[in-house]
Symmetry: C2
Subunit: 233 residues, 2 copies
DNA sequence: GTCTATAGGGAGATAGAC
DNA sequence: GTCTATCTCCCTATAGAC
């Protein structure tokens, strides 16, 4: 049982994937066990074999989404040589965050949308993980400042909130088939480090194509087809 | 009836404010007409005097939140002299956006959370307003680029998505009593324009207080006390 | 592991009194 | 304008068969 999942583990994961999708489209309260079961090709009662309640399922979805991103970023940073600059670390962290976040896109979007709507007990538990992940970023920023790579007037507390706002919004508008994650990561790292005015000495070169419009609705949540209007009463 | 609202108009607004709060905390499906009525000191049936359905109410909440921000930004930009630089316009737009967005904070947060969960018809309608508002920002960015204030490698489509992600997240973590909206706006405009590395010649000077932690949970939605756990089944 | 059946309760919307 | 009463439908969770 080293690497392949048991049937039970696979089914459990199938339920989680289904739940992430339904939470994303219908919110916390709007998600029904029936809809999750349907998406996972099960009957509603069967979910209770894997999760003892709707809240237990909710907590597991939030946990998996958060951990996927945090672990990817941690290992990407750990793989860097000790000589890496602040710029390099930030670029790598941005890429790892976006890459993992988009890979588990249903979880990322669901989390962003329902975090403020789940019962307090669930939120508090997940909040600890979020703070721990934030601490990683805080330390990258502080290291870069200590190395003298930042202007001294930059407030790192705000920078953290600013960066997370921009990065976590990506899972809402990204659609496969457009610009690659690498391009987006380079562009965003460049925005974070140099802003819009900064000099041209960007990170890795980013092709100059100002004219090409971004794929789907530039600001939107469009594209999440809902099977039906959320059930009326 | 030039300036003061009729009783009916006031009640309607009371219902909208109540709905924004409930949508924010419970999501689209989780919001019940009973809960909105309770928050507005009415009975559930009475809401149907003002709004012909839950979806009609939903649409009105999204509309008001969006318009509040767009109108404030438009008029702030219109008030600028023709000689204003790209930097100045962006700073003013950031401040106006944040200021309006926080003033109708319940609407802003509710919109951000439920936009992806409302029925398609409602989303499509609101989407047009969002695109129109986005066009304003796009034109500021393009003007600044034409004036030569930006590095030519910056992709403005991504810049727009990046900026909106960061700005619209603020309503989630901002708590009155901490740093002022003006400080946040200056800091954010500086991030957008100069990034973290840019030279010290910021906009208006921002006091250097790297040590002071931002008030509540740095990444969180904490602080929206829920009266009770969303009703269990 | 997955199913069916069902308990006990809450939803949106309408009708008609005041 | 606002209320109460009510119709019809769907929810979470459990019990027990297979």
């Amino acid at each position: 049982m080293a690497n392949h999942l048991t049937k039970s583990e696979m089914s459990r994961r199938r339920v989680l994937d289904a739940a992430a999708k339904i939470f994303r489209d219908y919110g916390y309260v709007g998600t029904t066990m029936r809809a999750v079961a349907d998406e996972a090709d099960l009957q509603a009662g069967s979910l209770y074999y894997y999760f003892k309640s709707k809240d237990d399922l909710t907590s597991a979805v939030l946990d998996l989404g958060m951990r996927s991103v945090a672990e990817r970023v941690e290992s990407a940073l750990a793989a860097l040589p000790g000589t890496a600059t602040g710029r390099e670390r930030i670029h790598v962290a941005v890429h790892a965050h976006l890459s993992a976040s988009l890979e588990v896109g249903d979880y990322s979007v669901a989390t962003r949308r329902i975090m403020g709507q789940v019962p307090e007990a669930i939120r508090a538990k997940n909040q600890q993980q979020r703070e721990a992940y934030g601490a990683i970023w805080r330390s990258i920023l502080e290291q870069a400042r200590l190395r003298g790579e930042f202007r001294t007037s930059a407030n790192l507390n705000f920078a953290l909130l600013y960066i997370f706002g921009a990065l976590n919004w990506v899972a809402e508008w990204f659609r496969p088939g457009g610009r690659s994650i690498e391009e987006i990561a380079s562009e965003f790292a460049s925005f974070i480090l140099d802003g819009l005015t900064g000099n041209e000495s960007a990170l890795t070169a980013v092709p100059l194509e100002l004219a090409s419009p971004v794929q789907a609705g530039w600001l939107s949540n469009r594209g999440h087809k809902q099977k039906a209007k959320p059930r009326a009463g």
